[in-house]
Amino acid sequence: MIRLISIFIGLGFTVVVLWAFGNGAYVAATEGLGEETAEHAFHEHAHGPEGGFKHDGVFGKWDTAQLQRGYQVYKEVCSSCHALKYVAVRDLAKLGYTDAEIKAEAASLSVPGIDPDTGEAIVRPGLPTDYYLSPYPNDVAAAAANNNAIPPDLSLMAKARHNGTDYVYSLLTGYSEAPSALKAEFPEFETPEGLYFNSYFPNLNLAMAPPLTTDGQVTYADGTDATIDQMAQDVAAFLTWTAEPTLVERRQHGWPVLGFLLFATILAWLAKKQVWSAVKPRKEAQGLPDGD
């Protein structure tokens, strides 16, 4: 009885889902598999700079000189629109800055505070424990200043996109005119006033004006030539660090753990072999018929 009911229910589900399949197949056969879109056809996948990053790969280490340069790009260019709200000035110690430098960096920030005598809202110089807050007082102001798009917090950007480090690099170096092939194929595609074409951005038009426009836009303290490509690499590396400051530390802890586990597993295997050696011939251990 239960099996009759079961067969009945099973056929029921099958009929309904195959009916849906038939409908889908009919639509696919008569209308094709949905229309191609410009966003799909002309979106490019992010790629890293030639030679990659020093922190790439399982043995990768931070390049602190590069992270310092990337911080400088963030501070001088990106911070006029983007916050890094999970990064405190004191965290820069990990990039090799001295205490004095960190205090000076902090003092250069303006942070909303309260006057200790009158209780009035004031703007005070930052402290090492302060975070890199948004330059805008609120989201409405941020959107109003940026063609209705809010510049996102960059702390986690490198983890919040597929292949995030490469994505930041590609995005910053990926501004161009819309290619003529695109215009030929999708005549109705346009880049509205106030938006910028970038083939790495998912819908191809974004509200961020190209932030890195000229070689030498920042003057690197370490004398590195500040080409657009160099600045893009440096800030991408820096944002990888802000997204996961423990990245390198994590991998470094991984090796001894793996080594221990490998050793312990080999021992466990030998122990298992030893224990079982008297019991059974290994080959027919499970006693199963041939051919499975």
Binding site: F13, V17, L258, Q286
Partner: protein, 430 residues
């Protein structure tokens, strides 16, 4: 239980003797996972996954309790406290990555454990209760993991919660009130986050309780084995300790190597980048996908695209829940007296060339966007899935001619068993 030849616990140490009289805990351990528990001698590595699942449950509880010390279930700060764990808490990144990847490994080992059961007919008499409790555990795990994924309050947390609780909205009449009641509001917010945290903390302990029942039920008939032939004699078994403690120890080490590779080198590979964006009710992600371990069932949900008496969405919800609930009936649907797929030629073909490919397709399509051709693939696979359990298993089990079984485990392993009676090789589940 135990077989009559099981070794007896005989403490010699006075402390242990004292314990054994007042609180026979050492005896319990000895009889459950020690030398006092005889186990078939021919178990394959497929029998390792139960112990591994237990390990990962404990790991989830330990890492989860530590995370809960630093996490705050408030929609204003949940995302920030998760980042606080990652950045400021000593070893916080390790706890969080171990917990998130631990959930994935928990599901990997449990899926293998379940499919071991499908192939070897482990659900059949006399082990029905073990199987039923296992399905309960799986349902509880799914609920726990779903609510856990909401806690970091990223974009996928929020939108996943919205989509899944929205499923209840498909139920006619009472659907919407139920959805509002579950969430404590019209959309996921503080109320939902708080209750999910509370339940996410509670359910693993409920799971631990059901696991104890699962193992209790297991110890009555004892483990099955790859031949599916029941234990007949002492020569068919070995004591759990040291034989299976050694084997499980090796299996654990082997799996932990892969776990360590994920935690230390690829901790976000199984996650979704959108969950590193804080929840935003005003911005819908391009593709809302649950965690990978829900993909087969998510594919089934989305396979029902056309109304058929009932609305398509309701069919999807019913089918998704039914896809797991039908496992409860398996012991009574598959009536073949032979347990192991190794002796069932027809069943075996449907298993390897039907169920496994269908599951693979459902896994793949559940993670893909709801577009053609993925939807059509998942429709075919969904049809097969239900046919397999509800139609093929009952029919195959009544028409198939099984291959000859060995007289006993001993005969299967050693080639002969002096106790074998000529012609008696049709051992049944009775």
């Amino acid at each position: 239980m135990s077989f009559p030849w099981a070794k007896q616990y005989t403490p010699t140490n006075p402390v242990m003797k004292f314990f054994d009289e007042k609180l026979p805990l050492p005896r319990l351990v000895y009889d459950a996972v020690g030398a006092g528990y005889p186990v078939p001698r021919n178990l394959s590595y497929m029998w390792n996954f139960g112990v591994l699942a237990g390990f990962f449950l404990v790991l989830q509880i330990v890492t989860g309790v530590v995370l809960a010390m630093h996490y705050a279930a408030n929609a204003q700060v949940a995302f920030a406290t998760t980042e606080h764990i990652m950045r400021d808490v000593n070893w916080g990144w390790l706890m969080r990555y171990a917990h998130a990847n631990g959930a994935s490994f928990f599901f990997i080992v449990v899926y293998l454990h379940i499919f071991r059961g499908f192939f070897y007919g482990s659900y059949k008499a006399p082990r029905e209760m073990i199987w039923l409790l296992g399905v309960v555990i799986f349902l509880l795990m799914m609920a726990t993991a779903f609510m856990g994924y909401v806690l970091p309050w990223g974009q996928m947390s929020f939108w996943g919660a919205k989509v899944i609780t929205g499923l209840f909205g498909a139920i006619p009449l009472v659907g919407e009130p139920i959805q509002i009641w579950l969430l404590g509001g019209f959309a996921p917010d503080n109320a939902a986050l708080n209750r999910f945290f509370s339940l996410h903390f509670l359910l693993p302990f409920v799971i631990a309780g059901v696991v104890i029942l699962h193992i209790w039920a297991l110890h009555i008939p004892g483990s099955s084995n790859p031949t599916g032939v029941e234990v007949k004699d002492e020569s068919d078994t070995v004591p759990f300790h040291p034989y299976y403690t050694a084997k499980d120890g090796f299996g654990l080490g082997f799996v932990l190597i892969f776990f360590a590779i994920m935690v230390f080198f690829l901790p976000n590979a199984l996650g979704h980048p959108d969950n590193y964006i804080e929840a935003n009710p005003l911005s819908t992600p391009a593709h809302i996908v649950p965690e990978w371990y829900f993909w087969p069932f998510y594919a089934i949900l989305r396979a029902f695209t056309v109304d058929f008496i009932l609305p398509a969405k309701l069919w999807g919800v019913i089918a998704m829940f039914a896809a797991i609930l039908i496992w409860f009936f398996l012991p009574w649907l598959d009536k073949s007296p032979v347990r192991s797929g190794h002796y069932r030629p027809l069943f075996r073909k449907f298993f390897w060339f039907g169920l496994i490919p269908a599951m693979a397709v459902l896994f793949y399509c559940g993670g893909a966007p709801a577009e053609e051709p993925y939807v059509m693939f998942s429709q075919i696979a969904t049809a097969y899935y239900f046919l397999h359990f509800l139609v093929i298993l009952p029919i195959v089990s009544s028409m198939e001619k099984p291959e000859p079984l060995p007289y006993s485990i001993t005969e299967a392993v050693l080639g002969s068993d002096e106790k074998a009676v000529l012609g008696d090789n049709t051992e049944s589940t009775a």
